[in-house]
């Protein structure tokens, strides 16, 4: 370890020279710093991780175990009764299905409308480009709450109130600004040269886009898609205001909060959290890129 301070082995002078004692203080300081760093990291991790563990534990406890007090923090009596009861209560399975359909629908719609706009920002200089980007930033700052009430009346009049389509439209619209900004940053990263080369070899502009740009931009586009899905999966307010019978999962859980047993709520919380773990796992390589490049 402390090779730095050892005397040279083959010293030319024969007589024994007194070397100054090895100063181990910096090394010790470094080690202490490492240990403290790990301690701090573990503490933060406990704060972030323990609640996730506890909701999992609660969701896998039977109703009797949940009523016991004081409870054990260790998984001693696991059971799937609570989750089964949650899944079989009225409205939950259809809501699950709705959430998935709406999530997929809004990600497709957001990409279909957002990706071309992102491409335009990335590849063209045109009058109105700066105002357009400012407009995108402004729409991001608009609270959903202002929109959902008037939208519910608009949809009521248009005859799409309480349908999957209504929620898809709103969720796609909400994620549109971010989708445009992410896809723009993705397309900027695809060199223009390859696109021009493809055109030189006889592709039309669209073909060059489809055959060359899209495959290269695919990982980033996937990140944008997952972002939309997460947003849609998590959005509570608009989904609850815009639907009555065709609830999404969060909306279903929200409206049945006050008159549901506590076990139902834990199972619901768990069902809502699990996808988050998967999403972040899939996205973790893109998180920084996304936020780092889109927000400035």
């Amino acid at each position: 370890m402390s090779t730095v301070a050892t005397p040279p082995a083959a010293a030319p002078t024969p007589e024994f020279t007194e070397l100054p004692p090895v100063d181990r203080a910096p090394l010790r300081r470094l080690r202490r710093r490492r240990v403290l760093l790990q301690v701090a990291c573990v503490l933060v991790t406990l704060f972030m991780g323990v609640p996730l563990y506890l909701i999992t534990l609660a969701a896998f406890s039977s109703r009797e175990t949940l009523n016991k007090f004081p409870k054990s923090l260790w998984p001693t009596e696991l059971s799937t009764d609570t989750l089964k009861a949650f899944l079989s209560s009225t409205g939950v399975l259809p809501a699950f299905l709705n959430s998935i359909v709406i999530g997929l629908g809004s990600l497709v719609l957001a990409l279909l409308i957002g990706a071309p706009a992102g491409y335009a920002i990335a590849r063209f200089l045109f009058r109105g480009r700066e105002p357009y980007q400012l407009f995108l930033l402004l729409t991001r700052a608009l609270p959903i709450v202002v929109l959902s009430v008037p939208l519910s009346q608009l949809f009521l009049r248009a005859g799409v109130y309480d349908t999957v389509l209504a929620v898809v439209l709103v969720h796609a619209g909400l994620s549109l600004p971010t989708t445009i900004l992410i896809t723009a940053s993705v397309f900027v990263a695809v060199p223009r040269d390859v696109e021009e080369a493809a055109q030189l070899f006889g592709c039309t502009r669209f073909e060059a886009f489809r055959r060359v740009v899209v495959p290269m931009a695919l990982p980033g586009i996937a990140a944008a898609a997952i972002f939309t899905f997460v947003l849609s999966w998590n959005e509570v307010l608009a989904a609850a205001v815009l639907t009555l019978n065709n609830r999404t999962l969060p909306a279903q859980v929200l409206v049945s909060l006050s008159d549901s047993p506590i076990a139902y709520r834990f199972a619901g919380g768990f069902a809502l959290v699990v996808p988050a773990l998967l999403f972040i796992l899939l996205m973790r390589r893109y998180l920084l890129n996304m936020w780092g490049s889109t927000l400035r």
């Binding site: 071309p116 608009l154 600004p177 509570v236």
Partner: protein, 290 residues
């Protein structure tokens, strides 16, 4: 950002590509916004009236909601920024398992505020895990009633903890992303010149992080003003927040006009916040941002 695109032929192509998004956003954002504003000032007969606003102001819960929303935002934002900066500095020091830590610290980013409320409900309910631990340790005899309706400070505390847990990740991601763009040279130069850790943080890192912090502040504050499901999950209707009140007026009381008025209060607060931040954190012109 996307500023390196070279000038090409000025065809209408870009406008065609932008058109669908402009149409969609105008229909989904612009139209409802206008209609919401009109509605808040309209009586049942369609004429101009301030009755909706009077009704909103006359409700004591409204003022409670205003107070709670502002207080929660004012307390949660500084805590989150301190916490996120600490987390980012820890990651910057490159500990072992940094990848794992980063993953776990980022998970709440994808957790909705409803789910966060339910997660902390398992901890804070009367027979929950926190009370179990407290009783097992012998600290209290019967556990603390965290959700007690007559103890607003407790309600505030549990909502605060859940919000800190849920939304610090967003600040963390933005700050870490911002730190990666800062060239290491500045920090190293300061180190060579003998600056202490705190001096480097205050005079080098923080000023360079300013654009990221500004974005994070605006986004986080606006999102904090919109929190509501977390309070509904943890406290029922005992801890009113503004967006929760809008939901009540719209869904429970079926009064969209008053709901719009409350929603406009949220919008107004958001706009004030954004403008104040943009002015207060304006980039000094001497420091050219890249």
């Amino acid at each position: 950002m996307a500023s390196r695109a070279g000038p090409r032929r000025q065809l209408p192509v870009p406008y065609l590509l932008l058109l669908p998004s402009v149409v969609m956003m105008t229909l989904l954002f612009g139209w409802p916004l206008l209609s919401g504003i009109l509605q808040a000032f309209q009586g049942p007969d369609g004429g101009f009236t301030l009755a909706n606003w009077e009704r909103m102001i006359g409700e004591p819960r409204f003022w409670e909601a205003v107070r709670n929303t502002l207080l929660l935002t004012a307390v949660v934002i500084p805590i989150q920024f301190l916490f996120a900066m600490t987390m980012a500095m820890l990651l910057q020091a490159k500990p072992k398992f940094a990848g794992f830590y980063f993953y776990l610290w980022a998970v709440p980013l994808a957790v909705s505020d409803l789910a966060a409320g339910l997660v902390w409900l398992s901890i804070f309910n009367d027979v929950g895990y926190l009370n179990s631990v407290l009783v097992n340790l012998g600290l209290v005899e019967h556990g603390v009633q965290w959700q007690l309706y007559s103890e607003p400070s407790r309600l505030f505390f549990i909502v605060l903890v859940a919000e800190v847990w849920r939304a610090t990740s967003l600040v963390l991601i933005i700050v870490v992303a911002g730190m990666q763009v800062i060239p290491k040279d500045y920090d190293e130069a300061a180190q060579v010149l003998g600056a202490t850790f705190w001096q480097r943080l205050w005079y080098v890192t923080l000023p360079l992080l300013r654009p990221s912090l500004q974005v994070a502040l605006i986004l986080r504050t606006i999102l904090a003003l919109e929190a509501f499901a977390v309070a509904q999950a943890l406290t029922g209707r005992n801890f009113p927040l503004l967006v929760g009140e809008t939901y009540e007026w719209a869904v429970q009381l079926q009064n969209p006009a008053v709901a719009s008025a409350v929603a406009l209060v949220v919008l107004g607060l958001s706009m004030v916040v954004a403008i104040v931040y943009l002015r207060a954190l304006r980039q000094p012109s001497a420091v050219e941002s890249r």
